[in-house]
């Protein structure tokens, strides 16, 4: 047999070359794994990815009303219009104001509560449960209760103010206080969740570090600011990121309590998008607003990540 004949005979007995799909599918372990994630993937595809892509497409159309087939592709016109839309940017400003008040406010309050709840106190589990209860309560129910609590005449908050000699405040009727009232409600509602995250962070700090600091003569304030807080940096970062993302998406309390008023002072972006889409049925334009909101949240998150990395490099984190 010649040399070439030998090669031909050898290759004839080699297993047939499998294509990429066959090679992928032949790995039985992976096959099972992919079958496990298939339902979740289908769910994501149907209810997240397809709507996402569809909404991006919509943002380039002039779709109004119920029939998307009537929508015309208008390129970047919605985005061009949006950049000069004073009402939209006013809503963005209101959202930024809410975020500036809510994110640090909720983080500080929840950290203080977590520090107390981290002590070995009698009934601490009961208090942890109580603080967590607003988190699992319905926003609508909570909002209605808070409307009563903030009532200028019969609300308990104004009753307390009157007792200490301060004139009652029309919390929800005054443009200068309405957003503050919403922030107070949102902090009260979310403080339990943040407290749990802080608690997890606090309990991960080795006790030896605090003991060493105490031996070195550090007082409690110094220990908190030099040991506890720096070691909580990953928790702080997580809460700041999720807080900013969540606060840019605030909707329920605005929808139930103020309806964007008084005088547009609580007209936040998501509520603005909702009214545009589901009250004016201006779906195409509302979709472009939603994508700008996404871009803003994305940019805010990138800035936070960049800031954290920079702080990390300087040794603070």
């Amino acid at each position: 047999m010649s040399y070439t004949g030998k090669i031909a005979a050898t290759t004839a007995y080699l297993p047939k070359q499998k294509n990429l799909w066959q090679r992928f599918w032949s790995r039985s372990n992976e096959k099972v794994g992919y079958l496990f994630i298939l339902p979740a993937f289908l769910h994501l595809l149907l209810f997240l990815l397809i709507p996402l892509v569809f909404s991006l497409y919509l943002s380039f159309t002039n779709w109004r009303g119920p029939n998307p087939q009537s929508a015309l592709f208008i390129g970047l016109e919605n985005y061009e219009f949006l950049f000069g839309d004073r009402r939209f940017w006013e809503a963005m400003r209101n959202t930024a104001y809410y975020t500036l008040l809510y994110v640090p406010g909720s983080m500080i309050v929840s950290l203080l509560i977590a520090l107390v709840m981290n002590q070995k106190l009698k009934g601490v589990y009961l208090f942890r449960t109580l603080f967590f209860m607003p988190v699992i309560s319905s926003w609508v129910a909570v909002s209605i209760i808070w409307i009563t609590l903030l009532d200028p005449q019969v609300g308990i908050l104004n009753y307390v103010l009157r007792q200490i000699g301060i004139a009652p405040v029309n919390w929800l009727g005054d443009p200068s206080t309405a957003m503050i009232a919403i922030v107070i409600i949102a902090i009260w509602k979310s403080v339990g969740f943040q407290m749990v995250i802080w608690l997890a962070g606090l309990q991960a700090i080795p006790e030896e570090l605090h003991e060493a600091a105490a031996i070195d003569g550090a007082n409690r304030t110094q220990t908190f600011f030099r040991i506890t807080l720096p070691l909580l940096a990953p928790t702080t970062f997580f809460l700041a990121i999720t807080g900013v993302i969540g606060s840019f998406q605030v909707f329920s309390p605005i929808y139930v309590i103020t309806g964007g008023g008084p005088r547009g002072s609580t007209d936040v972006v998501v509520y603005h998008i909702y009214t545009r889409a589901f009250e004016a049925y201006d779906m195409g334009y509302a979709a472009s607003q939603a994508w700008i909101l996404f871009a803003v949240i994305f940019a805010a998150t990138l800035i936070q990540v960049w800031y954290r990395r920079r702080q990390g490099e300087s040794g603070l984190f």
């Binding site: 029939n67 998307p68 016109e77 009402r87 008084p262 589901f278 004016a280």
Partner: protein, 452 residues
């Protein structure tokens, strides 16, 4: 084997026996209807009973039609848009006027002239012309998208007891803007009982206001604009420039602002909020703390439900007469899904239903429920004979002649403009400069219109 044969025979006989039932089922037309139910808290009310009577009497008269009553969800306007997009919308529904342009533009509702051959009794002359016009965007000879069910013009409610105790004549239908202002001033009292025409009147201790003014531009304030000879948007809907910022419109808006901030005859927004924290505004009105307010007929029921209700405390009159004698009308109508046209039997059933629903059989109930006026001319004319508020009903029917349609019924994009107008009005009533606010609104609305 024997058993199997018998079983097969039995199955054959049973299936043959079902054939006539199948024929019967084919003859029965199922019609899905939304708009003949009430929310759970209103079950047993006269309106609920009227709807039940409508469905049962229609079923009785049309045994071949099976009405499938679907509950109306709270946010029905959004729901119907979703249902239309999904192809699951009902066959017939009661539509609020604001959605009409969207439904017409999308070709979702039927031109009911198609019903005229099927149900010759359903003639358009049974309806009040100004209300029917809402369903005829192309004029009296054009298509008729649905038929009107009921409506209400906006009027001024007043409390005659407050007028009597202040020694002020009750208003008549020909009162002017000056009469209105003078009346409001005489009815506004401070803690010392001095009215707003008194030089010593103290605006910081007002205990009784003459009138209520709110931000809702189309709902409550547009008739004032028309009274002053102004308007809000051009006839073809292409611009607000020269309309919203016309001298007449600005004069009307300034007048409304001055009622609150200059004459102190209407409570500022904060004071109004505080008045209604503990009880409904209707209760405040019945107690005489505010003597007049603009509203539609539906408010009669709200007033009647208050503990301090007394028929002697409620009367109505039209908006004052000025350059125009006009008010705004709000209407709801029966519309037929355009998809129904492909099924002749269903189309006939739908046409019969709207014929039935707009005939005296159902429309007579409107005078009893008191929520709105029948759009059926003959029924409306006789309403005061059966109404529990005959004098009030007569004023509403008279005002219907001066009623102009809500701009929302003509322009799909007005849903974007209206909240901007409300915001403008809210800022003005809080003290913002009228011309500046109006010009800002015009600029933003013009920008919106450029997209349409």
């Amino acid at each position: 084997m024997f058993r199997i044969k018998h079983l097969m025979k039995a199955a054959l006989i049973s299936s043959l026996a079902l054939v006539p039932l199948g024929v019967f089922a084919q003859d029965t037309v199922s019609l899905t209807v939304v708009g003949v139910t009430v929310p759970p808290e209103e079950i047993g009310t006269p309106l609920d009973l009227a709807y039940q009577a409508l469905v049962s009497s229609f079923q009785e008269a049309n045994p071949n039609v099976s009405i499938n009553v679907v509950e109306q969800p709270p946010e029905f306007e959004t729901q119907i848009m979703v249902d239309l997009a999904a192809g699951t919308a009902p066959d017939v529904w009661r539509a609020g006027q604001a959605l009409l342009p969207e439904l017409i533009e999308g070709d979702y509702i039927l031109d009911v002239r198609q019903c005229l051959d099927i149900t010759p009794d359903l003639t358009m002359d049974r309806f009040i012309p100004s209300i029917l016009a809402i369903h005829q965007p192309e004029g009296p000879d054009g298509p008729v998208y649905g038929v009107p069910n009921g409506f209400t013009p906006m009027v001024i409610y007043y409390n005659p007891e407050v007028f009597a105790s202040a020694g002020v004549e009750v208003p008549t239908s020909d009162w002017t803007v000056e009469d209105f202002l003078n009346t409001a001033q005489l009815l506004t009292l401070d803690s010392q009982g001095r009215n707003a025409t008194d030089p010593d009147f103290d605006p910081n201790s007002i205990e009784q206001y003459g009138v209520r003014v709110r931000k809702f531009f189309v709902l409550e304030n547009l008739p004032w604009v028309w009274t002053f000879g102004g308007n809000v948007i051009s006839e073809d809907g292409s611009t607000v420039d020269g309309y919203l910022n016309s001298p007449e419109t600005i004069e009307a808006i300034t007048f409304l602002r001055d009622l609150v901030l200059e004459y102190h005859v209407a409570p500022p927004p904060n004071a109004l909020d505080q008045m209604i924290q503990e009880r409904a505004f209707t209760s405040v009105f019945l107690d005489g703390q505010v003597a007049m307010f603009p509203r539609g007929q539906w408010e009669l029921v709200g007033l009647q439900n208050q503990d301090n209700y007394d028929p002697g405390r409620v009367a109505v009159v039209g908006y004052p007469v000025g350059a125009n004698d006009a008010t705004i009308a709000f209407e709801d109508g029966w519309v037929i899904n355009s998809a129904v046209a492909s099924d002749p039997a269903k189309l006939a059933a739908a046409c019969s239903f709207i014929d039935f629903a707009t005939s005296p059989v159902f429309q007579d109930s409107k005078a009893v429920t008191g929520l709105e006026i029948s759009a059926n001319q003959a029924v409306a004319d006789q309403a005061s004979e059966v109404s529990q508020w005959p004098e009030i009903q007569a004023v509403f029917v008279e005002e219907a002649n001066d009623a102009l349609p809500d701009p929302n019924t003509r322009f799909t994009f007005f849903a974007i403009i209206e909240p901007r107008l409300d915001l403008m009005m809210e800022n003005i009533l809080a003290g913002a400069d009228v011309t500046e606010e109006v010009n800002l609104a015009v600029e933003e609305i013009e920008r919106e219109l450029s997209r349409q």
